[in-house]
């Protein structure tokens, strides 16, 4: 009955739909933070500073790719092991590269494989033993931390390849570091894959109703496992880029990224219960979180109040659109 749509109404309705879209709100908030930042501490809105923040956001953003897929895949999906997996990825990469460009490729490949194995274990436990993702990945955090400790003997060694450091730290075209371009390519690719590939639609199908997906011939378990594999792989990739940022590695390099990846996904408008959302929103969510942290760190404010403020801002942001269905509709 598409024909029945009246031609006059849409513009207003379309605007409403856009303005209430989480992605739009999140993007508006990101811009607002930069503007407020520029007012409060001049220089915060400068081109190079914004580029710098986008660069820092790219680590969170890339680690959150897998988190997006995992949450989209439903079944209370969440990956609490991303932070620790990213750290392990960086540790392995640093040990292999050890400051030499000739081992760059190997230094990327091996950690990514390690990530795939971690994701596979997560996925198998969740898909076959049906352990709730929250506890499975929480438990794996301990295991991965243990592996990192055993592997390093308690002291991480090695350094990133200069080419990697250059990619992250040197400014390229338009004074923008290469890592930001890598992220942009990933944003386009992941968004496109989710919306326009059979694999992407299957993730949405699995995320919105697993029983129905199974009965429609969508391989549910395979999709769930792949989601967790993707999560760990992108976590490792993020960890490797973070290694490029710091050049040397340490045992808790990326640990604190876990919950921010979840927050980025939710701020980006992906439904926590799965089946609805996408990566573009997550990427903007990562920008919002990074801009906010940066703004707070430049303000002369005790750490206690910074912590409180970031919590309150997150709540306000989610209150604008992250609300769940009302019981009395």
């Amino acid at each position: 009955m598409t024909a029945m749509q009246s031609p006059a109404a849409p513009t207003a309705a379309r605007w409403r739909a856009i303005v209430t879209d989480p992605i739009f709100i999140a993007a508006a908030v990101a811009v607002a933070i930069v503007l407020v930042g520029q007012l409060v501490s001049p220089g915060f809105g400068a081109y190079s500073q914004v580029v710098g923040m986008v660069r820092v956001a790219s680590f969170l953003g890339i680690m959150a790719i897998g988190q997006t897929i995992v949450i989209l895949s439903g079944g209370d999906g969440i990956d609490l092991s991303v932070g620790k997996t990213a750290t392990l990825g960086a540790i392995v990469a640093a040990r292999i590269m050890d400051g030499s460009d000739s081992r760059l490729l190997l230094g990327i490949l091996v950690p990514v494989l390690v990530g795939a194995v971690i994701g596979l274990v997560n996925g198998l436990g969740i898909a076959y033993l049906r352990i709730p993702p929250f506890v499975m990945t929480l438990g794996m955090t301990g295991v991965v931390a243990g592996i990192a400790l055993a592997y390093t003997g308690g002291a991480a060694a090695g350094r990133s390849a200069p080419a990697l450091t250059g990619l992250v730290n040197n400014r390229g075209l338009f004074d923008v570091p290469g890592v930001v371009y890598v992220w942009i390519v990933l944003i386009v690719a992941v968004t496109w894959l989710l919306r326009r590939s059979v694999a992407g639609w299957n993730i949405y199908a699995v995320g919105s109703n697993r029983v129905a997906a199974n009965l429609s011939g969508v391989p549910v378990r395979r999709n769930v496992i792949m989601a967790y594999v993707a999560s760990s792989v992108f976590a490792c990739l993020g960890g490797i880029l973070l290694l490029g940022y710091t050049e040397s590695v340490f045992l808790n390099l990326a640990d604190s990224y876990t919950l921010p990846t979840v927050a980025a996904v939710i701020i980006g408008g992906t439904l926590a219960s799965g089946g609805v959302g996408g990566y573009l929103g997550t990427a903007i969510g990562a920008l919002v979180l990074t801009f906010l942290t940066s703004l707070l760190s430049t303000m002369n404010m005790p750490e206690s109040w910074r912590t409180i403020t970031s919590g309150v801002v997150l709540l306000v942001l989610l209150g604008m659109y992250g609300r769940q269905r009302k019981l009395r509709t």
């Binding site: 002291a155 710091t246 430049t298």
Partner: protein
């Protein structure tokens, strides 16, 4: 060993061993702590060869204070004679220390001083470290300069102590501190925070920082192309020394300082523990506030001795911290 009489810290009435030593460390995801533990193990092995000690019990896992209390109780339950502890809190372990001491166990705190009067603190003074670093920094930026800081973490005792040492120095030199950044003792965070601060305070004369953050801050300053105009407080750690050396080698007149916070204190503390277990009495003139041994700071790394220092450690991992351990003989000097 027999129960302790009260009085001076950690007095044990002279057993003959071999002794069992317990170690409690509640933060493992740290290269600094690993280096500390390794040094303890090495020194322990030397004593073991001499038959002075027989067993080393390690409680080494990430834990909060409550977890560390459990670690110490585990050590008590395993019948150790002495506990060397890197405490998570200056005060919150007091009650469990009392439990240990009342069972005749010698307790020594390293890296971070505790309040319990019966526990012997062994280590450098974090406040002195802060002051030493600030002295060099103040002279580098000059009187009346404006700076920002990237420090450890709010509410963290070492952060507070270092600032307590630095603050009067900066005040004396009329140096204005525009804001305090929170670097979370973490290189990546330090780098990000320094980048943010450089954007909003583009005219600062220096960034005072220390520990792992220093390398991150220097990277941020380098990225902003300001190594010649912004002074960076440094750290005696291989990663930082490498960047520093590279800068100097490339002809920059970049200058910095690395005050040494030696992880080897743990091994030094083991010497103290053995002496106490063997019933030796501390020379009270070398004890501060009744229960603390304050080890002298080593000569800091500056541009003057950078090349020599670097030559000695250049093949270590980036996270390696410049170290020093007192020998058994040196420690004996602290006893009557």
């Amino acid at each position: 060993s027999a129960p302790a009489t009260s009085g001076s810290p950690a007095a044990s009435s002279g057993g003959d061993g071999p002794f069992t030593i317990g170690v409690s460390n509640a933060f493992v995801a740290s290269e600094y702590r690993t280096q500390m533990i390794d040094a303890i193990e090495q020194t322990f092995d030397e004593y073991k060869a001499e038959g002075v000690v027989d067993k080393l019990v390690m409680e080494n896992a990430d834990a909060d204070v409550n977890g560390q209390i459990q670690q110490i109780r585990n050590l008590i339950n395993q019948g150790v004679d002495a506990i060397i502890v890197d405490p998570n809190s200056a005060t919150a372990l007091s009650a469990v220390f009392d439990e240990a001491i009342s069972q005749g166990i010698t307790v020594i705190a390293i890296d971070q001083a505790v309040d319990s009067p019966d526990v012997l603190n062994v280590g450098i003074s974090q406040q002195d470290l802060g002051a030493a670093s600030a002295e060099w920094f103040a002279s580098a930026v000059g009187d009346g300069a404006s700076i920002v800081t990237v420090e450890g973490a709010a509410g963290n005792p070492a952060t507070d102590a270092r600032w307590a040492g630095a603050e009067p120095v900066f005040a004396e030199h009329n140096i204005e501190v525009l804001t305090h950044g929170d670097g979370g003792w973490d290189q990546a965070t330090g780098q990000t925070v320094a980048t943010d601060l450089l954007a909003t305070y583009p005219n600062v004369d220096g960034i005072w920082t220390y520990d792992g953050m220093a390398q991150g801050v220097l990277r941020a300053v380098e990225a902003a192309d300001k190594t010649d105009s912004v002074t960076v407080g440094g750290e005696a750690r291989v990663g930082f020394l490498r960047m520093w050396t590279d800068l100097v080698d490339s002809g920059s007149d970049f200058a910095s300082v690395g005050v040494i916070n030696p992880p080897g204190t743990g091994a030094t503390a083991l010497h103290f523990a053995i002496n106490l277990l063997q019933g030796k009495e501390l020379d009270q003139s070398k004890v501060t506030d009744g229960h603390s041994i304050i080890l002298p700071l080593d000569t800091p790394v500056t541009n003057d001795n950078l090349a020599d220092t670097w030559a000695g450690v250049s093949d270590q991992a980036d996270t390696y911290v410049l170290d020093s351990i007192l020998s058994a003989d040196e420690v004996a000097q602290y006893f009557q």
